[in-house]
Structures are given as structure tokens and as C-alpha cells.
């Protein structure tokens, strides 16, 4: 096994449930992640799959430390980042980036594409911001004049490519992609996934791809982790998972995918 980028040990996260908060005193807590152990190797593309409420997005947000785990350890290249504060995280931030599910909400509607990509670069004091923006646009296959567009002037697939351009502009080591194609048409999905696959190879990235849909990621990911109600119920190589799923839930997920084939038996 090659070197590990992430090591996750006994990761737990609970959030206070404000709906059940009594008038006085703390609200009861909802366990969202119930002790996860896994690693992500350098250069690997790992798929994280699960239904709603499985905790997959919460796990993703822990990995890029948008959320602070309640217990357990989160190591990034051997460094413990579980409880680092914002200031201590800042130098690390350019090394792990995230692409969001809904590009309409993750791209500030009042900034132009050029600004959106340039802002993180300026923040980290990168030299030659213009050149890097141009390069990022180029990498996602955009002409340079896209830089002057607003997000709402673009199609869903194009917006998602802006999200990718912004993430790669910092030349991170790790990118978390959270359901980034679930709102897109099949054709744009294919475009975005192909683009991502190419970029991962060209830039030597490590990628975690969160999805509720196994069919979408089966080509992209080398390994897949299935989450169910905050626990990992299966983690195996993609081929093995599709060939002989071990967990009943995985089987169920696979069977529920409607194939474009009228002869598929849907029991």
C-alpha cells in the first residue's frame, strides 16, 4: 500500500438536536458519525456512497475541517488536524479543497467567474494570480472570456466546471467532491466526470467522491466505501463491490438503480 494522505481513527460526530431542545439545559445530541476508521492513500480516488442520513456529507465536511469531529482522530499526512483552529488550519487549507453539490449556491452569485477563481489565490498570497486563473480556466476547457461571466449566466455543467477550476487553481493535494453531478443532466454528468478523471491523472490529485448514486461513480473510483446511518458497512475495490457486494444494503442500492433497459427485472 502506498503512502497515506488521510488516516481516520474512530471518527465520531454528533450535533445538538435543536428540535428536541428542552426549555432549559442542553439539547440532546444526534449521533451522525459513529466511529469511522479508514485511510485514503495518495493518488487514490475513493467513492463514499450512502443514502440520505448516512452521514456521507458530514464525513466529507470533517475531512476538509468545515466541521470539527466530536471524538476520534483525523490525520492529514500524519499531522493531527482533528481540533486545529482556523488560524492553525489556514496554511493547510490550500492543500485540501472541496467542490460542492450545488454550484448555484457554492458560487457567490455576485462575483464573476474570474474573481471566484482568483479570490482563494489572492488569499494565499500566490504570485501571478492572473496566470493561475488563466491556467485553471484552461484546464477545465473554458475559453478565457468565461472569466467575465456571472454564475447565473452559465449552464449547470459549466458552473460545476467553475467549481472545479476554483478547487484546482490552488494546486491542492486532495479534493473532496460532494455530490457534484447529482443536479446535472446525464450528458453534463459525463463531461464533468471525464474532466475530473483527466485532471486527477494530470495533476496527481487524491480525490474523495461523495455520491448517492453508485452508477455514476463506478468508473471514476478505484475503491468504494458504503455508509449507512453513520457507519461504514462495506469498503472494497470497485470491481469487487459491483461483482459481489457483501452487505445487503449495498446489494439493495445496486438493485435500485434504474438501468436504461426495459428488460431489467425490478423486484
Amino acid at each position: 500500500m502506498s503512502e497515506e494522505l488521510y488516516r481516520v481513527e474512530g471518527l465520531r460526530l454528533s450535533l445538538p438536536d435543536l428540535n428536541r431542545k428542552p426549555l432549559w439545559g442542553p439539547a440532546p445530541r444526534n449521533e451522525i458519525l459513529k466511529g469511522l476508521d479508514f485511510g485514503i492513500a495518495k493518488g487514490e480516488i475513493i467513492g463514499i456512497v450512502g443514502g440520505s442520513g448516512s452521514g456521507k456529507s458530514t464525513l466529507g465536511r470533517c475531512l476538509v475541517r468545515l466541521l470539527e469531529p466530536t471524538a476520534g482522530r483525523l490525520l492529514f499526512e500524519g499531522q493531527d488536524i482533528t481540533h486545529l483552529n482556523d488560524a492553525a488550519l489556514r496554511p493547510l487549507r490550500r492543500r485540501f479543497q472541496m467542490i460542492f453539490q450545488d454550484p448555484m449556491s457554492s458560487l457567490n452569485p455576485r462575483h464573476r467567474v474570474g474573481q471566484l477563481i482568483a479570490a482563494p489565490l489572492r488569499l494565499h498570497g500566490v504570485a501571478d494570480v492572473r496566470g493561475r486563473v488563466a491556467e485553471a480556466l484552461d484546464l477545465v476547457g473554458f475559453p478565457q472570456d468565461m472569466a467575465s461571466r456571472y454564475p447565473h449566466e452559465m449552464s449547470g455543467g459549466q458552473r460545476q466546471r467553475v467549481g472545479i477550476a476554483r478547487a484546482i487553481a490552488l494546486r491542492p493535494d486532495f479534493i473532496l467532491a460532494d455530490e457534484i453531478v447529482s443536479g446535472l443532466d446525464v450528458s453534463s454528468q459525463a463531461q464533468v466526470l471525464n474532466l475530473l478523471e483527466r485532471l486527477v491523472k494530470e495533476l496527481g490529485l487524491t480525490l474523495a467522491f461523495i455520491s448517492h448514486d453508485l452508477s455514476v461513480i463506478r468508473r471514476l473510483c478505484s475503491r468504494i466505501m458504503v455508509l449507512y446511518q453513520g457507519e461504514i458497512i462495506e469498503a472494497s475495490d470497485t470491481a469487487a463491490l459491483f461483482g459481489q457486494p457483501r452487505a445487503a444494503y449495498t446489494r439493495e442500492l445496486l438493485d435500485a438503480i434504474p438501468l436504461p433497459d426495459p428488460d431489467q427485472v425490478w423486484a
Binding site: 457554492s106 457567490n108 479570490a119 447565473h152
Partner: protein
């Protein structure tokens, strides 16, 4: 396929032109009042009392909108009155906006204890009856331009704070805020670069509304004689004086009223118009 919203063409429209035009006119009148006012607004001439406006029989040349019972020129007084109306609108509106929007933005974005403190403060503040509050304030500070401005700020900042807090909260859960944090932007910086531009259109609309309200409040306080103590002409003061002689000289009441009405209306329309024209995101 691009969003259908980008297909809708946006023009400045008559709303923006008319409102900006009127306010521009009022601003010019205020700035160059001594140059354009045909008469001295304070000069009394009892022989010229209650002269009607220019199109009516018995009008005196040079007194376009007639004179009041003391023979003072109504037009000149409206022009000079614009100075006070505008300075109240700008200063009171501006301070209210900065104070209220600033606190609202902080409460809405930072949440937690900052929000708790600011929100409770707003709740308590709003429990005071505002008119009573302002009268009390002026009673303590004495009448004058500054007390009016303070009264307006003190009463109205909560309006900004509450609306902007709610807006900032809505923006705070958007993914682009999370996205800014992923790249390592600090909290204050995130608030200014990500949240502020998105609540700015609302702030502009509120600000222009507030300016209109400030003009009205100043007029109301002048009307009840709590405003400017001297003879300086104010629209509210003119309306108040005009009320007495409404049967003999309606113009003394009606013209400042029209000026007041148009200015307040223009301010509110200006805000909406600016938002429609310059907000890159149509709602």
C-alpha cells in the same frame, strides 16, 4: 443551457430616471439655494402677505408660488427647506444604516453569543414606544438638527438590524460561505467579501426607504414644533404654519406638502430602481 434569467433584458426604466431626477433636483436646490432662490426666505413683507401663486389673479411677479401670511416667498422657503430635509435624510439615514446593518450583519453571520446579545438588545430596544422615546430625547437634548438626527438613528436602527440579520442568516448557510472557509478565509473577511455583497441590495433599498422616513420624521417633529427652533425654513414647519391659513392661502400648505411627498416617494423608488438595475442577480 443558460439560465433563462439571463435572457431577460434590464433597463433603467422610468422609475429610476424619474426618482433620480427629482432627487437630483432637490440636491441642486439644496446646494445652490442662495443662488437660485428668487427671494430671501426669511424676508418678511406684510404688504405682500398671502399672495397667490403665479397663475392666479393678484399674483405678485417674482413670487412664483405665492407668499405666506408674513409675506415670505413660499418657493424660496421650499428651496431652503430642502437643505434641512436632505441633510437629515443623508446623515440620519447613513448613520442608521451603518449602525443597524453592521450589527445585523454581525448577529446574522456570527450567530452564537454575538447574535444572542444583539438580538436581545434589539428586542428590548423595540419595546420602547418610539414617538414617546424621541420626544423624551429631544426634551433632554433640546430641539435642534442634531437631536432630530439622533432621535431618528436611535429609533430606526433596529429596523435595519432585524432585516439584515435575517438576510445574513440566510446567506450564511449557503455553500459559497463554506467554500470561502475551505480556502481559509477568516470570519470577518468572509463576512465582508461573501455575505455583504449579497445583502447590499437589501441595504440599499432599506437605506433609501430610511432616507424617506427621515424626511418624514423631521417634518413631523417640525410640525409639532420640536425641530429647528429658529426661523430656518423646514418643510414640516411650513406645513404646520400653512395649516392655520388653509382657507385663505392653501398654497402655503400644499406646495411644501408636494415637495415632501415627491421626495419621500422618490427615495423609495430610487432604492427599488437601483436594485433592479444594478443587482447582477435578479430575484
Amino acid at each position: 443551457m443558460a439560465d433563462a434569467r439571463s435572457l431577460v433584458k434590464r433597463r433603467a426604466g422610468p422609475r429610476l430616471w424619474l426618482s433620480a431626477g427629482w432627487i437630483g433636483l432637490v440636491v441642486l436646490a439644496a446646494v445652490f439655494a442662495p443662488l437660485i432662490a428668487p427671494q430671501d426666505p426669511l424676508a418678511q413683507d406684510l404688504f405682500l402677505g398671502r399672495m397667490p401663486p403665479f397663475w392666479m389673479a393678484g399674483a405678485e411677479p417674482g413670487y412664483w408660488l405665492g407668499t405666506d401670511s408674513l409675506g415670505r416667498d413660499v418657493l424660496s422657503r421650499i428651496i431652503f427647506g430642502a437643505r434641512i430635509a436632505l441633510s437629515v435624510a443623508l446623515v440620519a439615514g447613513g448613520i442608521t444604516c451603518i449602525l443597524g446593518a453592521g450589527l445585523g450583519l454581525m448577529a446574522g453571520y456570527m450567530r452564537g453569543w454575538v447574535d444572542t446579545v444583539i438580538s436581545r438588545f434589539i428586542d428590548i430596544w423595540m419595546a420602547f414606544p418610539p414617538v414617546l422615546f424621541s420626544i423624551l430625547l429631544i426634551a433632554v437634548m433640546g430641539p435642534g438638527l442634531i437631536s432630530i438626527i439622533v432621535a431618528i438613528v436611535v429609533i430606526d436602527w433596529t429596523r435595519f438590524a432585524r432585516v439584515i440579520r435575517a438576510e445574513a442568516m440566510g446567506q450564511g448557510v449557503m455553500d459559497y460561505v463554506a467554500s470561502a472557509r475551505v480556502v481559509g478565509r477568516g470570519r470577518i473577511s468572509t463576512m465582508l467579501t461573501e455575505i455583504l455583497p449579497n445583502v447590499l441590495p437589501t441595504i440599499v433599498v432599506l437605506l433609501t426607504l430610511e432616507m424617506g422616513i427621515a424626511v418624514i420624521i423631521e417634518a413631523i417633529l417640525s410640525f409639532v414644533n420640536l425641530s429647528i427652533p429658529t426661523d430656518d425654513p423646514t418643510w414640516g414647519g411650513m406645513i404646520s404654519e400653512g395649516r392655520i391659513s388653509i382657507n385663505q392661502a392653501w398654497w402655503v400648505l400644499v406646495f411644501p406638502l408636494i415637495a415632501l411627498f415627491l421626495t419621500v416617494l422618490a427615495f423609495s423608488q430610487l432604492g427599488e430602481g437601483l436594485k433592479n438595475r444594478y443587482d447582477p442577480v435578479l430575484r
